[in-house]
């Protein structure tokens, strides 16, 4: 059953990604002002959406873990945090590639960029905790709490960074033309790309979750084995 789900998700992800590539590079027209560079936007926004989605999952799964105590929720929040970090990195990278020719700089302390970067730091800390901590319930509960307060922090971060930027003089010459998707073909390409990235995300999440479940099972079996060895040694004596 699990194998079938995995294969189905993989097939759906591959097909939708091919469709998205076609839509982005062939179907959608080239943007008049920005030219070919604008096409990276069809990858940038879906990555951002998936990153935010995963940070949401980290918090919800963390809360469910604290409430219900079943390990699967902890594994889910761990897997989502890893993927969130991956896609958040992709957002920053694709954004920089776009910003260099359009804004003339790789990075600027614009409110959206700053917010994304702070989130990146936040979930980087979360993953460091997971990496340094052992695989036990104390760390799992701690990580759940961290995931919850991380998401609580997101609106405050957005507000504070926006206020911070409006007080500073604007560095940018032009505003980001993200909402300038006049052509309906552009909107279609964006929607297909969003769907494709969501499918890829679900597939990766499924794979990672299965790996973490396997790891938990192996851990359990090892413990059992150790107990049996102790019992066997006692019996021989």
């Amino acid at each position: 059953m699990k194998g079938a789900v995995s294969i189905a998700l993989a097939a759906a992800s591959c097909l939708s990604m091919i469709a998205a590539l076609f839509m982005v590079f062939v179907y959608a027209p080239t943007e008049a002002e920005q030219g070919i560079v604008q096409r990276i936007f069809y990858f940038h926004l879906p990555c951002a959406w998936v990153a935010f989605l995963s940070f949401g999952i980290v918090a919800v799964a963390g809360a469910l873990y604290l409430w219900l105590g079943h390990r699967i929720w902890d594994d889910l929040s761990y897997a989502a945090a890893e993927l969130g970090m991956l896609f958040c990195t992709l957002v920053l990278v694709t954004g920089s590639i776009w910003a260099k020719p359009i804004w003339g700089t790789w990075w600027t302390w614009d409110s959206r960029l700053t917010t994304t970067f702070i989130l990146w730091l936040l979930y980087g800390g979360y993953l460091l905790l997971r990496a340094f901590g052992e695989d036990n319930q104390e760390i799992a509960r701690y990580a759940a709490v961290l995931g919850i307060i991380g998401v609580l922090d997101v609106p405050v971060i957005i507000i504070s960074v926006r206020l911070w930027r409006t007080i500073h003089p604007a560095v940018l010459l032009t505003r980001q033309g993200e909402h300038g998707l006049q052509d309906p073909r552009m909107v279609a390409a964006l929607l297909v790309s969003l769907g494709a990235f969501t499918l890829v995300f679900v597939w990766l999440l499924w794979l990672r979750l299965s790996t973490l479940r396997l790891r938990a099972r192996i851990g359990g079996l090892r413990k059992e084995l150790a107990l049996l060895e102790v019992a066997g040694a006692g019996a021989r004596r």
Partner: protein
């Protein structure tokens, strides 16, 4: 609801009165940070108020995170946390007590930092410094709320004492922006009313994280 609050706070304060460890550690660390800031940016100049505000918050954030780690490590080593958990005190109450103590220590260190700041940056004792106090207190309440909730990491993870600032600082950034902006404005002579937006933001941050800490503390304090 807050039964047991008083004894825990009294115990921690008495411990500090007798050893003075936290005060010494916090004050020496924050003094060093201030010295570094003055050496790097220079004490004078047109942006004096901003540099002073930045130095204040930088000193506070690192002294605060390290101070709370230290306090908690001592608690674990002596088995005090376990005793507290065995006692019929609610985890939320333990959190409130620990938060109050952390706040007192940070305020104490902050008073010292402010004094040094006035000397180093040649600021005026006066209304500007008085207006800084509410901003400062709101800021350390938020920091103490986060540190108290998250400090248990230091005993649970290899290198946890290093990890705490890595976890706390990104979470604290909204309050850091609000606090440092408001402090800079106030130190350069603007009235408190002009930074009301930042103060509101600090209040919202404090309410959010004190409430979150109160509700979530039981999950981080429990031991397996």
């Amino acid at each position: 609801m807050l039964e047991g609050f008083g004894p825990i706070v009294r115990k921690d304060l008495r411990l500090e009165l007798r050893s003075g460890e936290s005060t010494v550690a916090l004050l020496s660390l924050s003094t060093l940070i201030l010295v570094v800031m003055v050496l790097v940016f220079g004490p004078g100049g047109a942006r004096r108020a901003e540099v002073a505000a930045g130095a204040l918050w930088l000193a506070l954030i690192f002294a605060g995170t390290m101070g709370s780690t230290r306090a908690l490590v001592a608690e674990r080593e002596t088995g005090c946390i376990r005793a507290l958990l065995l006692s019929p005190v609610e985890p939320g109450t333990i959190y409130a007590a620990k938060l109050s103590v952390a706040m007192i220590f940070m305020a104490e260190a902050g008073a010292g930092v402010l004094l040094i700041l006035v000397l180093f940056f040649n600021l005026e004792f006066g209304r500007a410094l008085l207006s800084l106090i509410p901003v400062f207190l709101l800021g350390i309440l938020g920091l103490a709320a986060l540190c108290t909730l998250l400090a248990t990491v230091s005993g649970r993870v290899r290198g946890g004492a290093m990890l705490l600032p890595v976890l706390v600082v990104p979470l604290f950034i909204p309050a850091l922006i609000a606090g440092s902006k408001a402090s800079a404005a106030v130190l350069s002579g603007q009235p408190l009313g002009s930074v009301i937006t930042w103060i509101k933001l600090l209040c919202a941050f404090d309410v959010l994280f004190v409430a979150a800490g109160y509700l979530l503390f039981e999950h981080v304090i429990l031991e397996d």
